[in-house]
């Protein structure tokens, strides 16, 4: 006899889950794999060691890492402000966090470029102190910060909401410094959520196309071509190169997967330590 589940409808919901996953994720991903295997080993290596391909991987991953770290710092502060303080316009601000999700990325990219180019409103100010933003790697990082910030804030917010201020008060009463309270009381609680947010922001940044493409300038010389741009180059140019595009996409996928996997391991170890 099969044990009856308390919640009925397993068959149907599982059916929908499997169908959805296959149609939307598994089958398309499998086709990426299939296409990239049409390249021979030698061709694959040749493609992956081309200077522009290597450089694009360095740019994409480096910029996405930088953006994710910055997002973590400011994401915590933002989430903290939104959870712990009351001020007029708080709800509006809370809603604004999600704008980068809703705004078409190309619109975001064009707007950021206009703002941060040396004729733009913000770019002019930065140019005076000698910092060029649009058409440099800084520009790429800014675009990635823009699209990644909601992931971090939305991951941390619920945890902070559940965290009762009474622990902090108790610690302060017992003579802990503010820094100690943050590191010993608050940080361990939000760390898993922060890691999740970091991972999501990173993954999003590595694969980002729309918002980055306008602000980066796509110059091979300045090292501002991102991986997704190289993939589009393969698909847009006179001779459509599906295999090459799929192979680069596959490597990108594997790298993203490994990074997310690593984050999960860190999270696992960390949670074991806190629970021990």
């Amino acid at each position: 006899m099969k044990k009856k589940s308390i919640i009925p409808g397993f068959g149907l919901s599982m059916g929908i889950t499997v169908a959805m996953l296959s149609l939307i994720i598994l089958i398309p991903l499998a086709s990426v794999l299939a296409y990239s295997f049409r390249l021979s080993g030698g061709e694959f290596l040749d493609l992956m060691t081309r200077p522009n391909v290597v450089q694009s991987f360095v740019t994409s991953i480096g910029c996405a890492l930088a953006a994710a770290v910055i997002n973590c710092v400011f994401g915590v502060i933002l989430a903290w402000v939104l959870v712990r303080y009351d001020f007029p316009g708080k709800r509006l601000m809370d809603g604004m966090i999600e704008l980068p999700f809703a705004l078409p990325t190309a619109v975001a990219g064009i707007t950021l470029t206009k703002m941060y180019s040396d004729t733009g409103f913000l770019g002019r100010a930065f140019e005076k102190i000698g910092i060029e933003i649009a058409y440099t790697k800084i520009g790429i990082v800014i675009a990635m910060i823009f699209i990644g910030i909601p992931f971090v804030v939305r991951a941390i917010q619920p945890v902070l909401e559940k965290l009762s201020p009474s622990y902090e008060e108790a610690a302060l009463m017992l003579g802990a410094s503010r820094l100690t309270v943050f590191w010993k009381i608050i940080f361990p609680e939000i760390r898993p959520a922060l890691l999740t947010g970091f991972g999501l922001a990173l993954a999003r940044g590595i694969g980002e196309y729309g918002s980055v493409i306008y602000i980066s300038g796509n110059s091979e010389k300045n090292g501002t071509q991102v991986v997704s741009y190289i993939i589009m180059q393969k698909l847009n140019s006179g001779n459509v190169d599906y295999e090459g595009a799929a192979a680069i996409a596959l490597v990108l996928l594997i790298i993203s997967f490994l990074m997310l996997f690593l984050i999960n391991i860190i999270q696992h170890i960390a949670s074991r330590r806190t629970n021990a």
């Binding site: 099969k2 149907l12 004729t119 306008y214 589009m232 847009n236 140019s237 006179g238």
Partner: protein, 342 residues
């Protein structure tokens, strides 16, 4: 018991899958009142022209047959539009920037061989060329390709490795260098390399480059399609000037019937009519008004005020056709990589 469970699972799985299939289907070609839908897949800058042309053609079609026709236009980068047709976009005709993109559809088996001779003038009812757009007053004194190699001149042009239009820009510069240095390849490469050294921003497409130059105010000169440049002059009167170089390239955007789709949709006749009508006087004049050079010489001369007709134009045949040009210049490790990656 187990078997029943299995059957139940199978049923729910099938149901789930069926639900999804129904969600994604349900579009047809013919409307209930018999109005035919006809799709023209084109590239970015022809948007305004085909919007006007479709009105003209719908009128003509109604006069001929007494029936209404609904004309659908689709625009995007020429290469990706071709790809969408190959991947199943149900286009009846394609009107793309390069013959090469149509050849790609032909190679996928959707267009019959010999399409380029199906209509007049290499199936190019209108043409364009590559010109320079500079800021009003032309302070940097940009009059020809030589001036683009000067130090301190900032150029905006899209990436030839991702944009079909950008290939024309490169080839026009190359042709100039060829005439100037009498075919000495080392000097020609140096000359073109100097131009590309001055490129400030390399956008992924022609529209993006126009945005960078016009909206974001980057650079001193935009290497652009003549039709895009003239459109910009019209939209921003007094802010820009158009400079036609002494040598440029004749860009022949081509048109073709997507035979496989047209046969399936029963639109072969209309498709032929649609593309042939592009060569009539009215349509040619409309092309001229939308800043494309009409292929009809008489009508082209009517627009002598708009277009600089004295420019010396080479064609893609001077480079041995598109496939050859692509292999020679833009494939991995070809001439563009060689001069730009240094």
């Amino acid at each position: 018991m187990k078997k029943k469970n299995f059957i139940r699972k199978t049923i729910s799985f099938t149901l789930a899958a069926a639900c999804m299939v129904f969600t994604f289907t349900g579009c047809g070609d013919k409307k209930e009142d018999g109005t035919l839908t006809f799709t023209n897949v084109s590239y970015d800058p022809t948007r305004e022209f085909y919007a006007a042309y479709n009105e003209l053609f719908a009128e003509h079609y109604k006069e001929e047959t007494g029936k209404e026709i609904e004309l659908v236009q689709s625009h995007g980068g020429s290469g990706s539009q071709a790809r969408s047709v190959i991947e199943g976009n149900d286009a009846d005709v394609v009107t793309l920037a390069l013959a090469h993109d149509i050849t790609a559809i032909e190679e996928a088996g959707l267009i019959e061989e010999g399409w380029i001779d199906e209509f007049d003038k290499n199936s190019s009812p209108y043409t364009s060329t590559i010109v320079f757009l500079v800021h009003s007053g032309n302070e940097k004194g940009i009059n020809d390709w030589d001036d683009l190699t000067k130090e301190g001149v900032e150029i905006i042009t899209p990436d030839p490795k991702s944009s079909g239009g950008a290939c024309w820009n490169f080839l026009a510069a190359w042709q100039y260098a060829k005439e100037k240095f009498g075919g000495d390849e080392t000097q020609m490469k140096d000359f073109v390399a100097q131009i590309y050294d001055n490129v400030l921003v390399m956008d992924s497409g022609a529209r993006g480059a126009t945005t960078t130059f016009v909206e974001n105010g980057q650079g001193d000169v935009l290497i652009a399609w003549e039709n895009e440049a003239l459109l910009t002059l019209e939209e921003y009167p007094g802010e820009y000037e158009l400079v036609t170089p002494s040598i440029s390239i004749l860009a022949e955007p081509s048109v073709a019937i997507v035979d496989e789709n047209a046969d399936k949709n029963g639109t072969q006749e209309i498709a032929k009519d649609y593309l042939e009508y592009l060569y009539t006087e009215d349509a040619q004049r409309l092309a001229g008004e939308n800043f494309y050079r009409p292929s009809d010489e008489t009508i082209l001369n009517e627009f002598a005020d708009t277009f600089d007709l004295s420019v010396n134009l080479c064609t893609i045949d001077d480079f041995g056709g598109w496939d050859q040009a692509y292999q020679d210049f833009f494939a991995d490790d070809a001439i563009f990589d060689e001069i730009y990656s240094k």
